[in-house]
Symmetry: C2
């Protein structure tokens, strides 16, 4: 089983121009957007393509948020952009949907990042006071700058 | 750009036995778990491997939750297990971490599903009254039964 591997094909690309961010869906996949305008938010999955090399994919422990003061931590306990499978996940507010473009409020990704999936956003039912997490320096969103 | 593709390798597997669910991480990746026990919840990414065929990956529109009464909807506006890239995402409560096993409260996945990534869970900052979504029949979690 560990020998299996799976193939991911980009369905689109993240574009950032000036202050604007949008997702451009490739023509073959545009039909998959039907009804997405009924949602206020989406989960965008993209690929940390700038790190798609053997060294980054072999990295298993990092100092979170790229801060050496933070304890060495397993990548699966972080959102590090260097990890075995380079999947990034971000919740985004939809501003508008125009043909094959989803205008979004913002995304912490590079212009040109390959989009590999989009899912409609449903809020979690987890009360915040039941969420436990360590005290790292730096906001978790900063990790992707690592 | 649309011609590129990326390779995903499972880092572990979801196991369900009687009433118990756990994630078994493969030995090569166990170091990536360091510190995960400091979190109450994780986001588990797995592969809808039972649908890894050309037909399922070409499907772009579905009736959400497998209910014909729901309007035909683009897969990117759903959590359908049939979609171009078969990525599943689920937030899970950690019950315990023992060596290469993460015991979780529950997961809506089949026994044997390949785990492709794990990320620590940080709550969203999105007020529930700012989340808009359509009124489908059936809880969104039911979609994966489609």
């Amino acid at each position: 089983m560990p020998g299996n591997s799976y193939t991911i094909k980009p369905i689109g690309v993240i574009r950032k121009q000036d202050d604007h961010a949008f997702i451009e869906i490739y023509p073959d996949y545009t039909d998959g957007l039907l009804g997405i305008d009924q949602f206020s938010h989406i989960n965008v999955f993209y690929w940390f393509s700038e790190n798609d090399d053997a060294e980054s994919r072999a990295l298993l422990q990092v100092h979170p948020c790229g801060n050496e003061a933070n304890p060495l931590t397993g990548v699966f306990a972080t959102h590090s952009p260097r990890r075995p499978n380079l999947i990034a996940s971000s919740t985004c507010k939809i501003l508008a949907v125009e043909d094959n473009r989803i205008m979004i409020e913002d995304i912490d990704a590079f212009d040109g990042s390959p989009v590999i999936d989009i899912k409609s956003y449903f809020p979690d039912d987890i009360p915040h006071d039941q969420v436990r997490k360590p005290k790292w320096e730096g906001h978790p969103d900063d990790e992707e700058e690592e």
